[in-house]
């Protein structure tokens, strides 16, 4: 195997009973701390937001001091590399011509594999394919 021939490995993401249940969130915050990124996913009642907007509209000058409560759904700790890759995935999602009717996916294993891994499977992320054509390269394969 030469250096110009990247290693292709499929990553099968195995669900457990708990992780298989999706959790809905409509707000997310990110904090950086000691080389880790803490991503908090939460849910707030959309009607509370509308009420806060109406309240602020009724105030003079539209200066709202309104605060609405959200419930923390899940806290995820990501390595910095994983957080950067997540940012890249989301950026790709929103910069490319996004057809919401057609499911699209983008997957990255970030901690040890700093480059792009694209999902080659339409199977809702269960099989993540390391796609050499998309530019993925293991760290030990250096470009000549």
């Amino acid at each position: 195997m030469s250096q110009s021939d990247p290693l292709q490995v499929k990553i099968k993401l195995q669900q457990s009973v708990q992780s298989g249940k999706p959790i809905y969130a409509n707000v997310a915050t990110v904090q950086n701390n000691q080389g880790m990124s803490i991503v908090d996913f939460g849910f707030y009642d959309p009607s509370a937001l509308q009420s806060a907007v109406k309240e602020s509209e009724s105030q003079i000058g539209n200066k709202s001091s309104g605060v609405i409560d959200a419930h923390l759904s899940r806290r995820i700790i990501l390595s910095q590399e994983a957080a950067i890759q997540l940012a890249q995935q989301l950026n790709r999602l929103f910069t490319k011509n996004w057809d919401t009717k057609k499911p699209q996916s983008d997957s990255v294993m970030a901690d040890m594999l700093p480059n792009e891994i694209k999902d080659g499977s339409p199977d809702q992320g269960k099989d993540l394919l390391v796609n050499s054509n998309s530019g993925f390269r293991f760290p030990w394969f250096r470009k000549k």
């Binding site: 890759q85 989301l90 990255v108």
Partner: protein, 108 residues
């Protein structure tokens, strides 16, 4: 446990003015312990974005590296465990992307 981190939502009322509302995040009963993840997968579907957080054993990656360097055949598939699957609104995903961009792609 209260999380005092806030996020400012700018809700456009019209082009001329916007309302800023702070969102106070409070820990829910089901939030549980923080989950560590080194694998992410982003998929878009109708009106939502699904983010899978997974974990892959770093030793597995090191073993793969050794296999590759020695020229041995690497396994076709390696297993990773899904830690958590989040379904978030498109707006929340955009906010998340903006926050991550601000963190990691700050202009000097």
């Amino acid at each position: 446990m209260n999380n005092d981190s806030t996020v400012a939502n700018k809700i456009g009322i019209n082009e001329a003015k916007a309302v800023q509302v702070s969102i106070r995040m409070q820990s829910g009963e089901h939030a549980g312990q923080p989950i560590y993840s080194n694998l992410t997968s982003v998929q878009a579907s109708q009106g939502t974005v699904m983010i899978d957080f997974g974990f892959i054993d770093p030793q597995m990656i090191q073993a793969l590296g050794r296999l590759a360097q020695s020229g041995e055949k690497a396994p076709d598939t390696i297993n990773a465990k899904m830690s958590c699957r989040m379904v978030i609104s498109v707006e929340a995903a955009k906010q998340l992307a903006q926050q991550l961009n601000q963190l990691f792609y700050k202009k000097p």
